[in-house]
Subunit: 252 residues, 2 copies
């Protein structure tokens, strides 16, 4: 199943980082060797796993200062390792302008370690800038978390258009791995209406698994732990385990 998944959506706050951390941990719990790469200068995936963003981190890998193997850290969760992000990762947005072949730097770095890995997850920032392009060039599939809210619907067509451009440009193998409905609150009509609309539009490209709104998912990062460690009995943990199984089933 060796695969590289970009977790992306330029709409902010839709659960990209929460999905990257917890899908990563769920796949690790199912005996996959997982590497999570934090491609967001905010470093939420790094902090959410309780890892310090001290150098070397992704910036030092992309700028060619260290091989990626030197930036890989243990996450504290078995089978799950991390390449952290620090604030200077922002530099990529200006330093790479005009540099030939910059889009492939992450893909090339990952190729040097992929023999020891089953799954690589790339957590993207909420924009379609250089860092997201680097991730889309390195990925084989894209997982798109989508809140069950109105603005989330708006952003999808821009995203699908970007995926088409990337596929037509520098990464012909890129496929949509699936749309993941997140923060679903079964008490509100809004959640139901939006999820029905998304399934009408995208059909089987929407994961069966829906992640409910669950405060335990929002609490876990303040303890530096994935949900499977923080509260295995929670609905959030159940959902991400189900998602991991569904993903492995689709890839088979």
């Amino acid at each position: 199943m060796r695969t590289v998944l970009a977790i992306t959506n330029q709409k902010g706050g839709v659960g990209k980082t929460t999905t990257a951390i917890n899908l990563g941990a769920a796949l690790a719990a199912l005996e996959k060797r997982v590497l999570l790469v934090d491609c967001d200068p905010q470093g939420n995936a790094t902090r959410g796993l309780g890892v310090e963003p001290a150098p070397p981190h992704l910036y030092h890998v992309l700028s060619g200062q260290v091989p990626i193997a030197e930036a890989i850290r243990e996450s504290g969760f078995p089978n799950l390792r991390l390449v952290p992000a620090g604030r200077d990762l922002v530099g990529v947005e200006v330093e790479f302008v005009g540099l030939d072949g910059w889009q492939y730097r992450l893909r090339k770095a990952l190729a040097s370690v992929d023999a020891e890995l089953d799954v690589i997850l790339l957590d993207c920032p909420p924009s379609l800038g250089h860092l997201t392009v680097l991730a889309l060039a390195a990925a084989e599939r894209v997982v798109v978390p989508m809140q069950c809210e109105y603005f989330a619907l708006e952003g999808i067509s821009a995203l699908v258009e970007t995926l088409g451009r990337v596929r037509g440009g520098f990464n012909p193998r890129l496929a949509l791995g699936g749309i993941l409905l997140t923060m679903h609150d079964e008490r509100t009509n809004l959640s139901r209406e939006v999820s029905d609309e998304v399934r009408r539009h995208f059909g089987s490209r929407v994961f069966e698994t829906v992640v409910p709104r669950n405060v335990r998912l929002a609490e876990a990062p303040s303890h530096g732990q994935p949900i499977l460690q923080y509260d295995i009995k929670s609905r959030g943990a159940e959902a991400y385990l189900a998602l991991a199984r569904e993903l492995l089933g689709r890839a088979a």
Copy 2:
């Protein structure tokens, strides 16, 4: 009270657009002549007010194709007008690189219409790229919506650092107007803990008004209306009216 407020936070999904639309409408209801400028290529503020993103929009103003007066639209809510955003606004992130004085383009455009206005609100995208820099160069004060969640705390120091750089660089008048706690859910400890922590850090720079999590706020944009029009009796409408009054009181 003529003032230009940037609504910004590079953390995604914290309520920037919801605050821009509803604070704008609340100030308009209090007889202020308000212009909302959508600086996000996603165009959520534009769509949330039911306005089509057809040209001319902000991109055509910033690239010098039309004066800003030609891009201003009615919002359907008295005293509230809008400069829409379209997807080609993304072009600013690449086309302006290296262009002398590009940071001041929005500020200059707004100076030509400010005689007829009391308040200008700038809704920013979830990043610290060119569009946010344009807004920070044009603004006198910054309002920072912050979710009552863990990752929100993480992002604040990066933001405060950026504000310092902007103040030291090209906009010495830029001040922090206030931090606004949003999506506060009094049923969870997490909301209480985060808001206590924010008040400990920032004291009186945090607005007294706290916006509760209120599904009516998330429903309103799908009807193209601010909350004051969609459901004036809701807790969301109350909060944004209180915020508008608090802001006017602080500015006096």
